[in-house]
Amino acid sequence: MKIVVCIKQVPNTNEVKLDPVKGTLIREGVPSILNPDDKAGLEAALQLKDQYGAEIHVITMGPPQADAVLREALAMGADKAYLVSGREFGGADTLATSTTIAAAVKKLAPFDLVITGRQAIDGDTAQVGPQISEHLGIANVSYAEEIKVEGEYVIVKRQYEDRHHIVKAKMPCLITALGEMNKPRYMTPGGINDAYKTEITVWGRPDIDVPDDELGLTGSPTRVVQSFPKSLKPAGVKVQLDTAESADYIVDKLKEKFVI
């Protein structure tokens, strides 16, 4: 079995802070990490490899330093790694991004399974996975919690707000993984050692068979026209009282506002 896992390097948005004066993002010193849902997707692929035997190919698109997440994936147990990188791919929205990544995945055909994370923590769109499947012309199952292989099919437990579907899809297909589906394994010292010996294949513009007008900024239907710090409502009152007074204070406010 051949599994392609698409991963992304993201800033750890939990550590992004706002400049209180300028209201802009402070990005300096914010560490980059392997996107959590993608890491779960990779772990799911590695579990399939443990169970059924598989070759795991990881792809990322990004600047040269994004190879860090590929090294991490190799150290966790992935077999081959590809970095899609080039100025022409920059400024891409989800449609142009998915078009580019799908073209890279196609180079690895024939494959049985493509796994992506459900969404990345810097954009939270959850769009790129389903879009890649559309470009590849294969089925997709989003929000996966469990993946099993049965012959030429995968059986996926798919999450909804109030239910799960057990879905059977014919391979090749694409699955988007939920971060909570598993606990990703750690890199092993041997794995880290091997990861730095493994060569990462770099694909640039000439390797990606997509017309110019579907790539990067030019190939992006959407435009960010404005970005601004979120305006929070002005802070209210803050009090520090003893326990009984605190309780009384809240009761008074609830009365004042006709809640009780």
Binding site: T13, N14, L25, D93, T94, L95, S98, G123, D124, T125, A126, Q127, P130, Q131, H135, A139, N140, V141, S142, Y143, I155, Y160, E161, D162, R163, H164, H165, I166, V167, K168, K170, S220, P221, T222, R223, V225, Q226, S227, F228, P229, K230, L232, K233, A235, V237, K238, L241, D242, T243, A244, S246, A247, Y249, I250, V251, K253, L254, K257, V259, I260
Partner: protein, 339 residues
């Protein structure tokens, strides 16, 4: 094909088990505002099997027209037949704007459609408006984990599409007896390898009230300390007829359930009163609750960011204050009952 040929505001009217999802009504409410600004009308696109009876509900909440695709292939949601139907609707009816709920269905369907149509899609918008001059669709959403807001447009492709999280827009009052023009449309469904089969549907029976419907939420975070200690929040909630919700930290610690989670990766709530108890107020949490009418925060850390959005902030030990508050409220209600 000129962009001017695309007209009307379309809403994906999500239904599950023959029941319209709340977000469908919220989108219709917003769609009416957008249609008014564009001088056009609102079309609901209803997909399902034996769902014709829902058309009147859509009319009562703002649909001028309903495009109904009723077919056994659409009984329960799977990506391909739904994407195929929406794609064919777009080809035939040429909407200027198409909005979807950012649900587990909408967040799968809308991107698949956007790639098929090759148009833009803006996820999880919190504000939608029409640019007064260009008449383009302005879609605003949180970015970087809610740290900044970005306004996005899709100038040269149609339809202009976005998803909106449930609870963000407000539905309009029901117009009893309102009727919409119903158009039945069936693009035909031919099975191929992109179709998947649903082997089993496991519904999670929940007796708990949906936190999105609660008037008062008593919400706990990491500061609550343990699953057992959530009992003091439940006691407070019981006195007030409120519902218990939580931050992501509490869900991750296994103290509360995923369906109780408020925030960026949980639910967006706007209750009348929101108690934030032992919640520090990460930006991702604030994104899910800052529209609440009254926010009351209890936290021992006086520099906790939750105090920046709280109307009333109480610096102190929740383990003492919450039981004291519950006791006071019990006394108050007991006294009131005697009056």
């Amino acid at each position: 094909m000129s962009l001017k040929d695309y007209k009307g505001v379309f809403v994906f009217a999500q239904q599950v088990d023959g029941k319209l999802s709340g977000v469908s009504f919220e989108l219709l409410g917003k769609a009416q505002d957008l249609a008014k600004d564009l001088g056009t009308d609102v079309t609901a696109v209803l997909l399902g099997y034996k769902v014709e009876g829902l058309c009147d509900h859509l009319a009562e909440y703002g649909a001028d027209r309903v495009i109904l695709v009723d077919d056994p292939a659409l009984k329960d949601y799977t990506t391909e037949p739904y994407a195929h139907a929406i794609d064919e609707v777009i080809k035939k009816y040429k909407p200027e704007i198409f909005i979807y709920g950012a649900t587990a269905i909408g967040r799968d369907l809308a991107p698949r459609v956007s790639a098929r149509v090759r148009t833009g899609l803006t996820a999880d918008c919190t504000k939608l408006e029409i640019d007064p001059e260009s008449k383009l669709f302005r879609m605003t959403r949180p970015a970087f984990g809610g740290n900044i807001m970005a306004t996005i447009m899709c100038p040269d492709h149609r339809p202009q599409m976005s998803t909106v999280r449930p609870g963000v827009m407000q539905k309009k009052d029901r117009q009893a007896g309102a009727k919409a023009k119903i158009e039945k449309f069936n693009p035909g469904f031919e099975k191929n390898d992109k179709f998947v089969e649903i082997l089993k549907i496991i519904k999670e029976e929940s007796n708990k009230k949906d936190i999105m419907d609660a008037k008062i939420l008593v919400s706990g975070g990491r500061g609550v300390g343990s699953k057992e200690n959530f009992k003091i929040l439940q006691d407070l909630a019981d006195v007030l007829g409120a519902t218990v919700s939580s931050s992501r930290a509490a869900v991750d610690s296994g103290w509360t359930e995923k369906d109780q989670q408020v925030g960026q990766t949980g639910k967006t709530v706007r209750p009348h009163v929101y108690f934030a108890i032992g919640i520090s107020g990460a930006i991702q949490h604030l994104a899910g609750m800052e529209e609440s009418d009254i926010i009351i925060a209890i936290n021992k850390d006086e520099s906790a960011p939750i105090f920046d959005v709280a109307d009333y902030g109480i610096v102190g030990d929740l383990n003492k204050i919450v039981p004291a508050l519950t006791a006071k409220l019990k006394d108050y209600f007991a006294a009131k009952a005697k009056e």
